[in-house]
Symmetry: C2
């Protein structure tokens, strides 16, 4: 963070940065408007950019791809899970810790319902976006694996447990997300998460029979 000098000016963010944020917002808003209305493939990047009042080139200065505009919402989710796990007490059972880590973002989704729901539905129903989500989950799983390994003092190269536990947690995450989306927001994410982890707990908490 380059805080050039002492900042007599008020906010910690410069004018330029606020302008950037403005463009991001404008682009995001235009994208959602068009994508939810017409569907993912029927909208070109040019459409979005023009609608937001900038050029196509500028769009790509802010977003890596067309998918990125939508999927960016999920980036926070992933780091949320990892940090959520790191924040749990070290002696907590894995099932409880993972349940809490996965459940927090999910509950957060369920709260401010409408907006989040429409995003999730758009993602799950659009193949290209769904694929992006899967990529993200793949990365999250790696991070969770790492976090679990240090938490339990296991070696990622010899023990399968961290990898499998992370995969199970994200399986639960995906299942809950899908149910919630399919129920159009009627189902309660927290309750679903509880049920999912009730199923997974026996394996998550079993003493590791895995060490060679």
């Amino acid at each position: 963070m380059p805080y050039h000098h002492d900042m007599t000016s008020r906010p910690a963010v410069s004018l330029a940065q606020r302008k950037r944020q403005l463009v991001v917002d404008e682009l995001t808003e235009a994208a959602f408007q068009l994508l939810t209305a017409r569907g993912f493939d029927a909208v070109t990047v040019d459409d979005i950019a023009t609608d937001a009042g900038v050029s196509k080139r500028t769009f790509f200065r802010y977003f890596a791809s067309k998918e990125d505009v939508v999927v960016r919402f999920l980036a926070d989710l992933g780091t949320g899970i990892r940090e959520g796990l790191a924040a749990r007490p070290a002696d907590e059972r894995p099932s409880a810790a993972l349940r809490a880590a996965v459940g927090a973002p999910l509950a957060h989704c369920g709260d401010r319902g409408d907006r989040a729901l429409r995003v999730v539905q758009l993602i799950l129903r659009t193949p290209a976006l769904r694929a992006r989500l899967l990529e993200h989950q793949d990365r999250w799983r790696d991070e969770l694996t790492e976090e679990l390994a240090v938490r339990l003092g296991l070696d990622t190269r010899t023990d399968l447990y961290p990898r499998l536990a992370a995969g199970m947690a994200l399986t639960a995450f995906g299942a809950v997300l899908e149910r919630w989306s399919e129920s159009d927001g009627t189902a309660d994410p927290t309750a679903l998460t509880d049920r999912a982890f009730a199923v997974l707990a026996p394996s998550l908490d079993a003493p590791s029979l895995d060490t060679v």
Copy 2:
């Protein structure tokens, strides 16, 4: 399978079909040659097509995308898993049935090692291809979920178990595949699969506490 008429001609496939197969083989071979040598992004579809002696347009008549050439190998794997599960005795414990279903293709991979290994490594290490693999797994999971539901007489809409069990099985699949790839084929897929399912078994076989 259209066996048009009585087949006085020898093989069940017509000349046209054999020609098609020839093009497919040629294209596939050229693709592997170039992709493994130069990497995925450094090879254009034109390169592959020209190398195989056909036009770019023809390439797309045989393969849906550049990724498709490589990933097509995996299609069989997925159906193999589902059919493998369907073939297991109905009274077998889920953990055992799934272990067998997932283990078969994996073992098959491990056997004829070199070729399969290089494909898997190429896929796992190339982001675009890895993404495709994830998409496939996503579909496999749906199919496995369905198969498990009918097998156990559960309803996919109310019970989470089939979905979670399918996810766990594929988590194991992915973990084994990755280990095997990273070990350059030294690790034994069957042994890895056994270890993975030893971890998952408690949840897979636990009586469902899930029904509302």
